[in-house]
């Protein structure tokens, strides 16, 4: 008889205007267990954990702690019951220091009412940081910390609530493999201390590496709850997507690449890239692999002209680029940036307007904008890219991650780009949409375009690229042809020290 769950949610339903987010969902968190919660975007995962931590209130459903019914009306109730959540967007205040961030809203009262007992605040923070093996000064302002350190502060925040149930929403999305390893060590340690961990992830490898139990959500309903040992990756994907998803992202590889479309020679940039050489031919999908911080984004931003270049040459279809995004776009280059929401789209504007942002000069060379032509171009792309949206007038804000990415790609198709740069195109996108995006890359390349893609998902890189460059601390350290393009080779090159 497995022990009673620390906390349990039963028959939870939640509806937002126009959408039934959760239908009769149950979830149990058992002590000393990592409970993986998987499902596509929009399956209701984040809604479920927001209900668990009291940010949302369910329409129906009940909460049980050790089998006894309880009420969770607010984040305070959840915290009282020992539930702590780490969301994907960090909940850190940049200009407060680490201790102030950890105890935000739960400061130790000082002598004078309303004040904070700073001594105790910092000593407690120090204690928790030592627990996590972080030697950073608790007085450092968090805007000075790297992404990985901020991740650790989020965990410290949860531990400071001596949480019995720790919920983590895609914690490894933005950190390096070394840091992921460190995170898993801490998770195993917490599990050992009897803490129940609910772990949301898109990365199949993590599910099997650390998961003790898996719950699959699809379209707001429980689909399955099983042990990793009882299932395989393909079965999980099928459960999540509810239909057969051929994860074969790429059918035909490029045998005879066309002429060199992009040629980068001895590129040095202010952002730290040193002596990068790179070529990209028409019809090819070339990968850029490397650990977080290896400089892949810095490299492509310099190629695109978004960051300043110190020295070196960039040739696009034979023409030397002086180095501004406007010039790069005019010459047919398009960048699908790392963070869609801040650099790829204007969230408040409609799908229609977003899709036209880059292609205005291309569609209307003489400067006169006509609605009819614009509408035709956008409607065509919505159909061909299968963008799921009630109308072209809908603000981009209301689209799912996958559809937003398609709008960005549509933007570049409108601009007639021939060289596409994808920076982490499938981050935060569910399995179904991932496959579509890679299929899109294939059709682009088939029409003679060239694609340079950055991805931290090594299995995807291996499955999609004709060849790949590997970067390590801001320099290209090697190139892997199709034949020896394997995850092991990539990791070995990316991690080689010295």
């Amino acid at each position: 008889m497995t022990p009673a769950p620390l906390i349990e949610m039963r028959h939870i339903s939640k509806a937002f205007p126009g959408v039934q987010a959760l239908k009769d969902v149950s979830l149990a968190a058992f002590g000393s267990e990592v409970h993986m919660l998987v499902g596509q975007n929009g399956a209701g995962k984040s809604t479920l954990i927001k209900i668990l931590c009291g940010a949302y209130r369910p329409n129906q459903g009940e909460f049980l702690v050790h089998g006894k019914p309880v009420h969770i009306e607010s984040t305070r109730d959840a915290r009282r019951l020992g539930v702590a959540v780490i969301f994907q967007e960090f909940s850190l205040v940049p200009y407060l220091d680490i201790a102030q961030n950890i105890f935000l809203g739960r400061e130790f009262p000082g002598r004078i009412p309303g004040t904070v007992d700073r001594g105790r605040l910092h000593s407690e923070a120090r204690r928790i940081l030592d627990l996590l093996g972080m030697d950073v000064d608790t007085r450092t302002k968090t805007h000075r910390l790297g992404v990985a350190q901020q991740q650790m502060i989020e965990i410290a925040k949860a531990l400071s609530q001596d949480a019995k149930v720790l919920v983590m929403d895609e914690p490894t999305a933005a950190i390096s493999d070394r840091e992921i390893e460190r995170l898993f060590e801490i998770i195993r340690k917490l599990r050992g201390e009897g803490i129940a961990i609910i772990y949301i992830s898109h990365r199949m490898r993590e599910v099997f590496e650390i998961g003790d139990r898996i719950t699959v959500l699809r379209d707001g309903a429980n689909v399955a709850s099983l042990r990793p040992s009882e299932t395989t990756m393909d079965e999980l994907v099928r459960l999540m997507v509810g239909r057969e998803v051929d994860t074969t992202y790429r059918t035909r590889f490029c045998e005879r690449p066309g002429e060199a479309v992009l040629d980068v020679k001895a590129l040095d940039t202010k952002s730290g890239i040193r002596g990068a050489n790179l070529t990209l031919c028409a019809g090819e999908i070339v990968g850029l692999a490397g650990l977080v911080g290896a400089g892949r984004t810095e490299l492509v931003r310099a190629i695109f002209g978004a960051d300043t270049r110190i020295s070196g040459e960039i040739f696009l279809k034979g023409r030397a680029l002086r180095g501004s995004p406007a010039e790069a776009v005019r010459q047919g280059m398009g960048l699908v940036p790392e963070n869609r929401k801040t650099e790829g789209l204007a969230l408040l504007r409609s799908v229609h307007d977003n899709m036209l942002t880059a292609g205005l000069r291309q569609l209307f060379p003489h400067g006169w904008y006509t609605f009819a032509k614009a509408k035709r171009a956008v409607e065509g792309l919505i159909k061909s890219l299968r963008v799921v949206t009630p109308s072209a007038r809908r603000p981009a804000r209301f689209l799912s991650g996958g559809n937003q990415q398609k709008v960005v790609i549509g933007k570049w198709l409108n601009a007639g780009s021939k060289v596409f740069i994808f920076d982490e195109p499938t981050r935060g996108i569910d399995i179904g949409a991932k496959a579509e995006i890679y299929k899109l890359m294939e059709t682009l390349v088939a029409d003679g375009a060239a694609v340079l893609v950055i991805s931290s998902e090594l299995p995807e890189l291996v499955a999609v690229c004709d060849r790949a460059y590997v970067l390590r601390n801001k320099a290209i350290v090697g190139e892997l042809r199709r034949t020896d393009l394997t995850e092991e080779n990539i990791l070995r090159m990316a991690m080689q020290h010295g």
């Binding site: 607010s74 984040t75 967007e89 960090f90 205040v93 940049p94 407060l96 739960r106 904070v116 805007h143």
Partner: protein, 308 residues
């Protein structure tokens, strides 16, 4: 090292202006003149302190000048009607607080953009003040306020004392209380504050209420200084306060506030105006040099930011 990188361009400007005026403007560096600068800048500082909190929470308050005019007139009229200074001051604080809370509710609860909401309350406050007084200044406020305003403690005039006390209070509020943490949080990551179970809306309204309250204190100084209340005496002071805060290094994004910078900003404007007056510089040049000061101070910051 964090502290040093923090010093805004205006600090250097202040030092340079001080040295130059000390040399060229006879009598500038004398104690009475420095006290003058202190007195002249104290009212503006009372407005700039809460304005720092507002700008840190990505807000703006255009109504402070007009509300100061109104609270000044309320204070003067209450005194003329024979009330004691305490009662009159309480009335002024009440009116200021009411407008502060109104601004807060409009911006936080009704979601109006701060520029628009406070432009609206600017008109309302100015309108009430004008209608109350028919545009005339309110005189005959009796001896109580002037006596208080003229008091000195260890040679330090009343207005500088009030300004110093208020700075200490705001410094304590921002850096030593929970409320201060929440001001950083509202500007830096409001979502996180809500998720931490803190009533972020309440504290956000409090930020605007504080600004309204401070116009009551500023009214004490302004009416004391003029020995009368005037409906539109403080028009335009809110722009000077905003400029002083921004020049002082506080940024609208990410809750990057620095209270000492605001003091530097206020003093820079005060030193420049006083120095040019003492040197009897041609008035049109005085006007242009204020604009120049603002732009040069920001220029230094933007160049340094690009270097780091």
């Amino acid at each position: 090292m964090g502290r040093l990188a923090r010093i805004p361009g205006v600090a250097f400007l202040l030092v340079v202006l001080g040295i130059l005026f000390g040399i060229f403007a006879g009598g500038f560096a004398s104690l009475p003149n420095l006290l003058n600068i202190g007195i002249q800048s104290s009212t503006l500082l009372l407005l700039a302190l809460p304005m720092t909190f507002i700008i840190m929470t990505e807000g703006l308050d255009l109504s402070m000048g007009a509300v100061l005019g109104l609270t000044g007139v309320v204070l003067a009229s209450a005194l003329v009607a024979g009330n004691t200074l305490i009662v009159a001051f309480a009335a002024a604080l009440g009116v200021g607080l009411a407008f502060g809370i109104a601004n807060g509710l409009l911006v936080v609860k009704l979601g109006l953009p701060p520029f628009v909401a406070t432009l609206g309350t600017l008109g309302i406050a100015q309108g009430i003040a004008l209608v109350m007084t028919g545009g005339e200044s309110v005189a005959g406020i009796g001896p109580a306020l002037p006596k208080l305003y003229a008091t000195k403690w260890v040679g330090i005039p009343f207005s500088i004392l009030v300004a110093a006390l208020m700075y200490a209070a705001f410094h304590f509020l921002l850096y030593h209380t929970r409320f201060g943490n929440y001001v950083f949080a509202i500007g830096g990551n409001r979502e996180a504050l809500v998720l931490a179970g803190v009533p972020a809306g309440f504290f956000h309204v409090l930020v605007y209420a504080l600004a309204g309250l401070m116009t009551g204190f500023a009214a004490l100084l302004l009416t004391g200084r003029m020995n009368s209340g005037h409906p539109i005496a403080a028009m335009g002071m809110e722009f000077d306060a905003i400029a002083a805060v921004i020049v002082g290094g506080t940024e609208r994004q990410r809750g990057n506030g620095w209270l000492p910078g605001t003091v530097l900003g206020v003093l820079a404007v005060g030193v420049l105006r006083n120095g040019l007056n003492v040197m009897a510089i041609q008035s049109s040049l005085q006007v242009a040099s204020i604009g120049l000061l603002l732009i040069v101070a920001l220029l230094i910051d933007s160049i340094r930011k690009r270097q780091l």
